[in-house]
């Protein structure tokens, strides 16, 4: 118990807090400026969208830029959705099973296997591109969205395993032991008892993986040479490299490519932050 003369918690004083608040406010423009540029340009007309008037609000508001950008990117946007959703679901499911095994069953070399697996989270993917493409060609998935989803699943397993392992550490071991006394095997315990408890873990890992895979560019351009089948990030970069595209259309395209992860982030920001910190090796 603290008396009234001693502050119960130490930290910055009231005045210092006010100064800090003011300083934080100074950062607001810095962090919102790119979003302002994209939004205002997206609603400009092609004639009104000149880079020399970048900072001005649209003189005439229109959605023609957005519809033109959608025309150019909608196919790739759907490609991304079609590829990302199964990749997120499958890599999270595999990660949860792995995380469960690694956190609740100690077996020989389990720690070594886990560490070796974590290396896969950090490697530069440039180092595995050649054999990856060879592999996709061998299984006849090169140039296809299922092929791209497959490599995202495999290279997503280390991070999802880590996240679920950290998540299951807080699940009481007694629960697993009770199930095994009742004669339930590993898989039965997992699907009957652990999986229903794992919804928060799936939300966190799912958001994290959705962002990672949606935002990927390298795998997209390397495994799928045909622009029609590429994900939206690759298509946006192609659009950006085209000299003839109007600036408002390019910015509207950026808006479209950013929207799914931005919306997910705005709705589920808390879980997103949890994912950032729980996905790190501590």
């Amino acid at each position: 118990m603290t008396t009234s003369t001693i502050p119960s918690i130490v930290g910055s004083s009231k005045r210092s807090k006010r100064v800090q608040f003011f300083l934080l406010c100074l950062f607001i423009p810095l962090f919102t400026i790119p979003f302002y540029v994209v939004l205002s340009a997206s609603f400009k007309t092609s004639q009104g969208a000149d880079v020399t008037t970048m900072w001005k609000l649209p003189a005439e508001w229109t959605t023609s830029g957005i519809s033109k950008a959608w025309e150019a990117l909608s196919g790739n946007f759907k490609n991304s959705l079609f590829m990302v959703i199964p990749a997120v679901a499958i890599s999270s499911l595999i990660g949860s099973l792995n995380g469960f095994i690694l956190s609740k069953y100690k077996f020989k070399f389990s720690n070594t296997i886990f560490t070796l697996m974590l290396v896969g989270m950090f490697i530069p993917y440039q180092t595995i591109l050649i054999p990856m493409v060879r592999f996709l060609q061998l299984v006849h998935l090169y140039g296809t969205l299922p092929g791209l989803a497959l490599v995202h699943i495999i290279y997503g397993i280390p991070i999802t395993t880590l996240m679920f392992r950290n998540f299951y550490v807080s699940v009481p071991k007694a629960l697993v032991e009770a199930a095994s006394i009742d004669g339930a095997g590993l898989l039965k315990t997992f699907f009957r008892i652990i999986l229903p408890l794992s919804i928060p873990g799936f939300v966190v890992a799912g958001i994290y993986q959705f962002t990672n895979i949606w935002n990927d560019f390298l795998f997209g351009i390397v495994t799928i040479p045909n622009p029609v089948n590429q994900p939206v990030t690759a298509a946006l970069n192609n659009l950006s490299g085209t000299q003839t595209v109007d600036w408002n259309v390019l910015m509207a395209g950026s808006l479209i490519a950013a929207l799914p992860t931005a919306i997910m982030y705005l709705l589920l920001g808390r879980y997103y932050i949890q994912g950032l910190t729980s996905g790190s090796v501590k």
């Binding site: 910055s12 974590l118 440039q126 180092t127 946006l236």
Partner: protein, 315 residues
Amino acid sequence: MPSFILVFIFVYVFIAYTIRISISKNWMPGLQDFKTTDPWYENYHTLVSAGRFQADIRNTIVFTALFLLIAVIAGLLLAIAVSNMGRSKVFFRNLFIMPYAVSFIVTGVIWRWIFNPVSGVNLLFQYSGINSLYKTTFGAELHPDWMGSADVVGNMNGLLEHLIPGGTFLQVQMGIPLALLPVIFAAAWQLCGFAMAMFLAGLTSIPHELREAAAIDRASGFRYYRSIALPSLIPMGITTVVILTSTSLKIFDLIYAMSGSGVGFSTDMPGIYVYETMYKALRYPLGAAASVFMLIGVCIVVLPYLLKFSKANEE
């Protein structure tokens, strides 16, 4: 478990395959020719003596050092300030992490235009009067070329050639390419929120008793941060630095979309080099060798950290 085996193949076997290609002479996807070069390290030798790859190494070092410095310090200061906020805490926290949720390609495309010499920042110099102030002081327009600049500040060539035996092997000026600065800014802008989130998590996990004890001792806010908060943030700081360094050694998308290789490879990076050498120039062995360099760089940073983590796990 089958998934473990799959990951091991896709990581370790694939890396071995790439290393094997990196010492081959003519390997091509259609032509599985594994004949090695003579001597075996020839591709690596070609690589380090090429001006472009030397520029890449210079750029990676400059980029990583400045990016880390800005992102970690900004992240730490933002975390401390945000942790002191009351109702506005969630707002600020979400604002600063927002960029991290968006693709590097998207932010790269946007920053490319904000740092375009005819628009963006240079227009702000115009509107705000900074330009006219600069003009009256220095007699010239303030109109930087940003990523279009070919200037390199500083010259370490003499020193490096003195230190590394082999005489004059450097093809590029070793210094800070000015064109890298906007790119470093954009990367720090996007990732300092991540550092902030990590430090914020660290700050909130400081035991309540410690804060109370400090309060009873009537420690000032500054004392508290210096003696209690900062030391307890060190593990989180190491994690953050390792993750951000490995990100920066691998950086590809942001720079590819924002500036490409730049004038005289002033913003080129190993990640871009590997991609273009393999898939544009179709020189797979050389690209593979460059990717092995990237792997070594990442391993130097990450492996000691993972091994320490693994040991702690054992107990």
